[in-house]
Amino acid sequence: MAREKKVHNPLFHVVKREPLPFLPALGIRAAAVVAALIVSALVITVLSQQNPLEVYKSMFEGSFGSSVRIWNLALNLAMLLCVSLVVTPAFKMKFWNIGAEGQVLISGLATVACMFFLGDQFAFLGDKKPYVLIPIMLGASILAGILWAVLPAIAKALWNTNETLFTLMMNYIAIQLVAYFLKKYVKSGSGVLEPMPQHGLPVIGDMDYLLSILIVLALTVIVYVYLKHSKQGYEISVVGESVNTAKYIGINVKKVIIRTLAISGAIAGVAGFLLVGGINHTISTTTVGGRGFTAIMVSWLAKFNPLTMIITSFLIVFMERGAEQISSDFNVDPSISDILTGIILFFIIGCEFFLQYKIVFNKNRKEEV
């Protein structure tokens, strides 16, 4: 008797589902978004006494209200997507790189250093200056990104250190280095380095950000092809699924880890180069603006598929822009819009869970007791 009691028999358990066909799965996702909107509407009505329909309209206008806003949306989407590409190859390998913030920031620092110290030195080149300066900026940026990403990878490959902690710590070093150099070289009031658009990326027509956006799009396709259709991409998947399998079929796991993180670092280099050289033309400790962490969510929600990441980063940027618009339109505290973003994300992540797993209740539980 006593022994039988010890058998643990829970009320329910979670079972993996057969993959759903595409259309029903899409339908369930849409239903989740609608449910999220209804719950958010209730929260809006209770907390801020606004008409929820008006609030949703303003949220939509925040991203699509005018051509300026559409450009702004596209730019922010592109940059978030670019930073998400940094973490994706490593994540696919189950290497938890949460240091994208620092990897991009240190690349930005390298870019801005080239602009600051070399920009005026090359003035004698006249029109040809960008052909010399920009490759130097890009090269320095990529090297810095690789350095920041490969250090934790080497430690992981050789001594099996914890990559999550290591990459996280590297963030702080990058942030403090930026703070240090700003203190050293900027003597004005609150330490803002004057933007240097004269040393930045060229502009296509009068569309400030088009070049950066196109580069990110190209990069997305390249990373997609690399991960899906190249031998190295396949090796990454195998190492991610099972290190032992990888070893058994003769994959050099250490090499794959270091190589993949070098690629991550190089992408971070491009991201930092675009953020500083193409958009901000200056740097501060908040230039990356938390994208390194938001990118983790973007990548996970898209199940590490770079093309799906276009949709997930759109979703997040759309909600951020919308949240800003709500708080300025209705003069409500910005935290209300953060709450909405939280609710919507909660439903989406929950829906993804139930698409993959189902809950099975144990029917004969009562009988046993």
Partner: protein, 416 residues
């Protein structure tokens, strides 16, 4: 055995709870004995914010945009937002005549925010943080038919853009007035025999070693010196505009160095809190800290931005040019004081400040009168010294006085 452990734990928990109650009871008893018989509280302000008056018509299609670095949780931004809201209410602006954008960082985001405001039809845009300046200038160059106004910046005078303007306030006058309250408190201590005249040393917690802060603490010092000639002052810089721990530590270090009164130019409650804990009188900034520090707060000065907002809105609606550099003073209502805490301040403080206000208004009193201070033992000589006084904020609205006046010791330097 297990049961015994449970009973024991319960007993111990009970003992602790009872002990706690007992301790609380004791505190209450002693608290009552210490209580002062009478609390005088705050006086009316000797220099209050004037009411905003509407003496022009708002044109059709008028729209103003505000860009703020943080939101109401920062005392600095709250001060701007309060000014903006006062003007919006007084002028009766409707919802489609103003837009407020909060939490805009000092980066390209500021330019993007300005661009979006132009896109939404704003004809005038205001930004409140020093670091916004370069991005406002970028926007001003692009949108030449929109007016751009920036508080605390210093580049309008040299940029020569017709649609870009700087603004500040002669807050050094407010600090001078607060300094008078500090000097009188020192005199009271000297008369009571708590300190000798030579021991009248104040402490000052500053953010960065640059003109805005230097001008502020020098005027505060000169105000105190005008009533207590033997006063000296130590200044400790934190290198941050907002860091409660650093500011608290700096104030405590100054108190340990025998400073008998503390003031500060940094935005957290660090320094006032340390003063309250140590029982050292404090002259505050940016607004009253009386609620949190009732037994040490004396008075606080702050900039009132409502007059400037009213001025620029009037200019845009009456087709007048906005001044490239605008510096509001006492007459405009840009410099204001809180009430004076009569439980801490010396007797007669309210009257002494009121007298100085009248003299400043009349122009007979100049804060940086070179007869009242020396630099390295000599009378100050500078291009901006006119008619025997340093013309602070006279040409560029941002403060520029950055000399090391005798009697003030900088304990450290900290540049941003």
């Amino acid at each position: 055995m297990k049961k015994f452990a449970k009973v024991l734990a319960l007993c111990l928990a009970l003992v602790m709870v009872i002990g706690c109650f007992a301790a609380c009871g004791k505190d209450k008893d002693t608290g009552k004995k210490d209580e002062k018989p009478e609390i005088l509280g705050m006086s009316d302000s000797p220099l209050d914010a004037p009411e905003v008056k509407k003496d022009f018509e708002i044109k059709e299609g008028f729209k103003i945009g505000f860009i703020c670095l943080h939101d109401e949780n920062s005392t600095y931004d709250k001060n701007f937002l309060d000014g903006a809201n006062a003007v919006i209410e007084a002028l009766g602006l409707t919802k489609d005549q103003y837009i407020i954008k909060k939490n805009i960082p000092e980066g390209n985001e500021c330019y993007e925010a300005a661009k979006d405001l132009v896109d939404q039809g704003c004809t005038i845009i205001f930004a409140n943080s020093f670091g916004h300046e370069d991005f406002m200038i970028k926007a001003a160059k692009e949108f030449t038919d929109v007016e751009f106004c920036h508080a605390t910046g210093c580049k309008a005078a040299t940029e020569n853009l017709p649609n870009y303007h700087n603004a500040f306030a002669s807050i050094y006058e407010g600090r001078y007035l607060a300094g008078i309250a500090a000097g009188m408190k020192l005199n009271e201590m000297i008369e009571a025999g708590d300190i000798t005249a030579e021991e009248a040393k104040m402490g000052y917690v500053g953010a960065f070693t640059y003109a805005e802060v230097i001008s502020g603490y020098t005027s505060f010092y000169l105000g105190a010196k005008s009533v207590c000639p033997s006063v000296t002052m130590d200044v400790q810089f934190t290198g941050s505009w907002y860091d409660p721990t650093l500011e608290k530590n700096a104030a405590e270090a100054l108190i340990a160095k025998d400073c008998v009164l503390i003031s500060q130019h940094a935005d957290s409650m660090g320094a006032p809190g340390a003063c309250e804990a140590a029982g050292i009188p404090n002259v505050s900034y940016n607004g009253s800290t009386y609620e949190a520090c009732p037994s040490t707060f004396i008075v606080s000065s702050r900039i009132n931005w409502a007059p400037y907002f009213n001025y620029i809105i009037k200019c845009v609606n009456t087709d007048e040019a906005i001044a490239t550099d605008w510096c509001g003073g006492i007459a405009e209502g840009s410099v204001v004081l809180t009430g004076i805490n009569q439980d801490v301040a010396a007797e007669g403080t309210v009257d002494a400040i009121a007298k100085a206000v009248a003299e400043l208004k009349a122009g007979t009193l100049k804060v940086f009168n070179t007869a009242n201070f020396t630099v390295d033992g000599k009378v100050l000589e500078d291009d901006l010294v006119v008619d025997g006084y340093y013309n602070e904020s006279g040409i560029v609205s941002a403060p520029s006085f950055s000399f090391n006046v005798d009697g003030i010791t900088r304990l450290n330097e900290n540049f941003g």
